[in-house]
Symmetry: C2
Subunit: 338 residues, 2 copies
């Protein structure tokens, strides 16, 4: 189509972060390095204050069909998800909200209710915030929690022969977006399940906290940028590779992919906004981890193992293919699962 990429498109959100990071002084003795999912600061007595901020912008992050309540709730949940991945219980949430001029009072109320719902579902509270007029709806949330440093799960601890596991199945969000954006069809029940994955994401907080307590995890991230990207992030930070031999495709995603002749492998690997945890675990503590996650009502699905060789490979019965470092940036990206 001859579309000339703008700089922002060319760099992508991650490229822009890289440029900004380059110009920041680094705090000496910071307990968790730049580029992990959260920031942390030592509070003394082995405790860390853990902070995460993430912004949701209407045009690129709120798909048509997601209402204001859901958008506000999601803006909170996506920050809590990052704390969950690190084994940190969120206690406080702050929200900065940019409100378009033409918003109604009811819309603003829905935003208040959605922020509150997102926090209260995870036993946290919205403690404060700020609003401004903005051209597009912008909801920037910060989640805060305190953790004992020994329980914080970084990205960088994965070791060869660790197991890799996830807290759920992938691909539903990508399929839900195809229904919402491209009008692809699905039976009512399937449609409901897939769209719910988009509109009502869940942070795996119970699972993350339970896993942290076992000390089984060596690395963890959430999968908001997609399963493939999450694996690549751990790979980079821990200097390891992965062999994935049990791709956790959601049954609903498989069914939807079959109907529309889509590739469920790609949908599961390169989707995003799913908020499952991707965790590497010490094999000797694997049973402990499974049991504690089960005891809080979750699942832990083994999907492969960590390798010394820094390659990421998907092994199926039929073939062995590389897992690309492709990730989710926002819902307007073009090359999803086709």
């Amino acid at each position: 189509m001859g579309h000339v990429l703008t700089l922002a498109e060319e760099l992508g959100e991650r490229g822009i972060i890289e440029i900004i990071l380059k110009h920041l002084d680094h705090m000496p003795d910071v307990p968790i390095s730049f580029g992990d999912d959260v920031s942390a600061i030592a509070l003394g007595d082995g405790k860390l204050g853990v902070l995460k901020t993430d912004m949701l912008v209407g045009k690129t992050d709120i798909p048509p069909g997601m209402n204001d309540w859901q958008a506000a709730r999601k803006a909170v949940v996506m920050n809590i998800s990052d704390l969950a991945a690190k084994g940190v219980k969120p206690t406080a949430v702050l929200a900065s909200v940019g409100i378009p001029k033409d918003f109604t009072k009811r819309q603003i109320e829905q935003i208040g209710k959605g922020l509150n719902a997102g926090a209260r579902e995870y036993d946290a509270y919205v403690l404060g915030g700020d609003t401004n007029e903005a051209a597009d709806l912008v909801i920037s949330c910060t989640a805060f929690g305190v953790v004992e440093e020994q329980y914080l799960i970084k990205r960088s601890g994965a070791q060869p022969d660790n197991l890799v596991a996830v807290t759920g199945f992938f691909g539903k969000t990508s399929c839900g977006l195809k229904i919402m954006l491209d009008n692809l069809s699905a039976s009512p029940g399937l449609r409901r399940a897939l769209i719910k994955a988009v509109l009502m994401p869940q942070a795996r907080l119970k699972e993350g906290l339970a896993i942290a307590k076992t000390r089984a995890a060596t690395a963890s991230v959430d999968s908001s940028d997609g399963l493939a990207w999450s694996l690549h992030e751990i790979s980079k930070a821990s200097n390891v590779g992965f062999i994935i031999d049990n791709l956790p495709v959601a049954p609903e995603a498989r069914e939807f992919a079959d109907i529309h002749d889509l590739d469920s492998t790609k949908l599961s690997l390169y989707g995003g906004e799913e908020y499952e945890l991707v965790v590497t675990l010490k094999p000797e503590l694997w049973q402990d981890a499974i049991e504690v996650v089960k005891s809080v009502g979750g699942v832990l699905v083994k999907i492969g193992r960590v390798t010394k060789e820094k390659r990421l490979i998907l092994k199926t019965k039929r073939k062995t293919i590389p897992i690309q470092p492709k990730g989710w940036e926002h819902f307007r990206q073009s090359e999803l699962g086709t």
Copy 2:
């Protein structure tokens, strides 16, 4: 002109916050109430984690003539200023940045450098953040610090017969904006001083920390919404009134007002974005407060006293007038100092 107010204009930013607050559950035993300048959470051992988030939006908060470096720096400084008012040393800053599509790499670099400069000036570090594409430049920062609860200065402690003092003089920012937005003239030196007040705001951190240590302060806010608004905020939270008999008009603002036949009283009372601290103090510790502020290179100017009667009054040689609950919302407001 028959301009019909939109809801956002009608409510104003503070009206929107009120609506959102109404829908938030309140954390039990929260150490500082909703509506103070910061949020806080108990960390144990008498310590509080203190958080503040505030968003800067291009169209309404970044006047033409302020560059990206200055905007990013200001987005950090305005959050640090709120911690300064509470007597809290900031340690960490997070930044969420919404970047317009047409931004250049150099602009993004300037934002990184500006964020870093804003934090490092106050001995804090930018520890993390997030970027997104956005319709307009949006910089949402969160500042974090730890304080011993006994030193936290709330809005609600002002007592009748306390003194009221400020850390500097008012009106320069309003005048600077008149130069930048309305092209009003000034001699080169005056012009430079007034525009600098807009482009390079300073948080009174040294002063705030020094005052907190004396235990002289009973209430404190920063004056980012204007001196009048700050006094009204303390009045509401502490259930007191004020007699102001020494309005701290900056000499530069007086000079500029004289040239252009503006009302320097209004410019000083109802401007904003000045970031001076407005503090009520126990008279018996007034000398201590003056001395510690002087010892860190600042000034503390007595401007009046707290009254039991909940009225806000400005007393000059010629007249006694009420101080209106009018405050700064953003630079596009219409009725400034005319």
